[in-house]
Point group: C3
Amino acid sequence: MMTASQSDRLNKKDLLGIEDLSKEEIELILNNADAFKEVLTRDIKKVPTLRGKTVINLFLEPSTRTRTSFEIAEKRLSADTINISAQGSSLVKGETLKDMAKNLEAMNPDIIVIRHSASGSPHMLARLCRFSVINAGDGAHEHPTQALLDMLTIREKRGGLSGLKIAIVGDILHSRVARSNIFGLTRMGANVRVIGPPTLIPPFVEDLGVEVYHDLKEGVRGMDIIMMLRIQKERENRSLFPTIREYARFFCLTKERVALAKDDCLIMHPGPINRGVEIDPEVADGPYSVILNQVTNGVAIRMAVLYLLSGEKG
Amino acid sequence: MMTASQSDRLNKKDLLGIEDLSKEEIELILNNADAFKEVLTRDIKKVPTLRGKTVINLFLEPSTRTRTSFEIAEKRLSADTINISAQGSSLVKGETLKDMAKNLEAMNPDIIVIRHSASGSPHMLARLCRFSVINAGDGAHEHPTQALLDMLTIREKRGGLSGLKIAIVGDILHSRVARSNIFGLTRMGANVRVIGPPTLIPPFVEDLGVEVYHDLKEGVRGMDIIMMLRIQKERENRSLFPTIREYARFFCLTKERVALAKDDCLIMHPGPINRGVEIDPEVADGPYSVILNQVTNGVAIRMAVLYLLSGEKG
Amino acid sequence: MMTASQSDRLNKKDLLGIEDLSKEEIELILNNADAFKEVLTRDIKKVPTLRGKTVINLFLEPSTRTRTSFEIAEKRLSADTINISAQGSSLVKGETLKDMAKNLEAMNPDIIVIRHSASGSPHMLARLCRFSVINAGDGAHEHPTQALLDMLTIREKRGGLSGLKIAIVGDILHSRVARSNIFGLTRMGANVRVIGPPTLIPPFVEDLGVEVYHDLKEGVRGMDIIMMLRIQKERENRSLFPTIREYARFFCLTKERVALAKDDCLIMHPGPINRGVEIDPEVADGPYSVILNQVTNGVAIRMAVLYLLSGEKG
């Protein structure tokens, strides 16, 4: 299935963040994901690429969709998968993450996919251990496979990323999705802006090469892509915004607001969506929404990353 | 392994309930289950039938036995299985079941086995999504694979279902097992009666073609089969019956009460059993109990259903 | 891979405890584990030994490391694995362990690995059911695969077990690890002593062939091996010892205390370790610590046990 150029390995042991990736590395991953998408159209959607390899999904924050997407990707590559979740893990017994990592390493897994509430946890694992580490979301830091699947989706629909005008809207401050996309999209030559209330925009975000807007209507004007973020309802009472209702009044993406962007502006969202909070159902289910394409591309991206990291260690 | 007639597919995308099945369709499933029972006697109890297919077990109500039975069936058919349970699912994050379903669909699973506390949930999934849906229990509505395994067990022990006298005893009102069995057994030509206190018999149940008895001793007289239901101890204080002790006094199946049925009357129970509540240990463990045969047949029935739904979509 | 002598089967259906094993049986398991360690050095760390076999991991006490170690061992032997944990199990619904076991048996698994808080649970399963049972820890009784992996580690590092001086330190009273090791190490000809405060030493422990010391410094003198136990912080307020801090003052294994043992004395711990409580980080991470070798050997021992029990039943 793979052509010579597609079989090139990433010269990396781990995928920790988009910040570390060059334009060429991002393109290598996207090209491999394209190849795996072809596999996913077959009746038998399975290849023997990772046969005999052990992948541990270490999800120390709850997650259905990302864990499921990784697990499907792993099984379609014929890997053996082990799931470890927060509850019932020995972290509960007071073991440090470092000790847990060294213990897992002693069992010789090939790849560990980790989600953790503390920024930098995957980096610590990667530094300490021989196995490859894939960051499936660390605190408010990075969520690289999400940004990669977003870039795959945009490239598929628009033929490329360079020169596109892309707005990321919502709680930029707490969003690892936003950070990873900012790194990736700017590196690929897109023009990126972030939109949100001042309390949810990180200080000095302009230094990452993005513009800042506080008014949604003004911000979406002329955009090729609008990428919405999930608003965490749990933050409602932490004085970052008055109420969910108030937030929605100014930042919910409605049909009227989308109309201010380009005619064929794509609507994206990493999910799970809060209907009527950050996005109107009419928009989420509308003709320019690519939200479900993102999910499909998630499996292909994860297959590509697992494949590219499974070769000889760099 | 399969003969020509056994390889007939169900002309259905989903198995949502027994109510939808014709006599011929029920027989097709039972015949295929017979064939799979033969596989289960082998040393290597595994066939490549679903190799490369992805089955998601979406159990949004807790369950060990049904999930385990499905998972064993899936693995013996060589499917790749993914488990999603209530805790840790993004439903917790406020996502609707519909959005969750569309997201799972975007990952291209072949079959989703769903258990959900809301009646009709599997039907919604089936209507919205391309994948096949198997109802593993929806609220107080249906539990079709349970009724199929019950019918397989009876057919195996009695050679057929037509004309048999079968009593279903207990909390008929809340029981999806009772509903599915009433649909199936009456369709196969059995004479079915339900027995329970008036508060636990659904109104108009006679319209489903069954007789109603409120006295266990009277009801079991002359029966070929007594099918007990699990009493939910949680209901004790909801004024549907006075106390568990009081319920047991009138409705516990004791040896003396079984003696009023036919001499070789089979005793069934979907499990888990409450010893000394709805069934006496002497009866549960007695010579005419087929409770464990039901469990064994559960794996074969689930293999048959998975197999029959895994072909081209109808 | 296996030579003729290695393919000898254990003449046992189950592995319930070390107490039941002869010296020859222990050696058979250790020799097979050596052979599997070679498999674990390959790029494809997988053999088809248990293809088509179903192994259920029934962990009714929380555990990450032991469950993960077993699951990796099972998958590297190509078994189909099913995980059942305490939460969401029908034991919650009031089913007895006996009924649960008979139900699982009716689904025809080949091997059940059980961890349970009640001593003797695995023995009950083994007596009642056809499948093979592996005890993964029952109450304060036995944890046989832990003792086997400990013996494998010692044998690897010291060439044998006979005549070695081994101290087991900590909460001997509640430790299944200590009990299994006492049975195994004494049977293999080692000289074993236990060290701990009087409240944590079981009465009549001398009858098992070990000496008792209450002073750590005195006890470790001249030892070849010091095997630390995890102190359960939950016991702090049950009046068995004053406080964790007080316990650590007398029984924490520090560099100074290790210096009283033999120069090349090996340091062992079943994990997860409480740094600064029962073991000082300098010692845990020091040159004579074999704690991570124990973890690696755990996978090999479990592969060996699964393999040896998977043949014809004795």
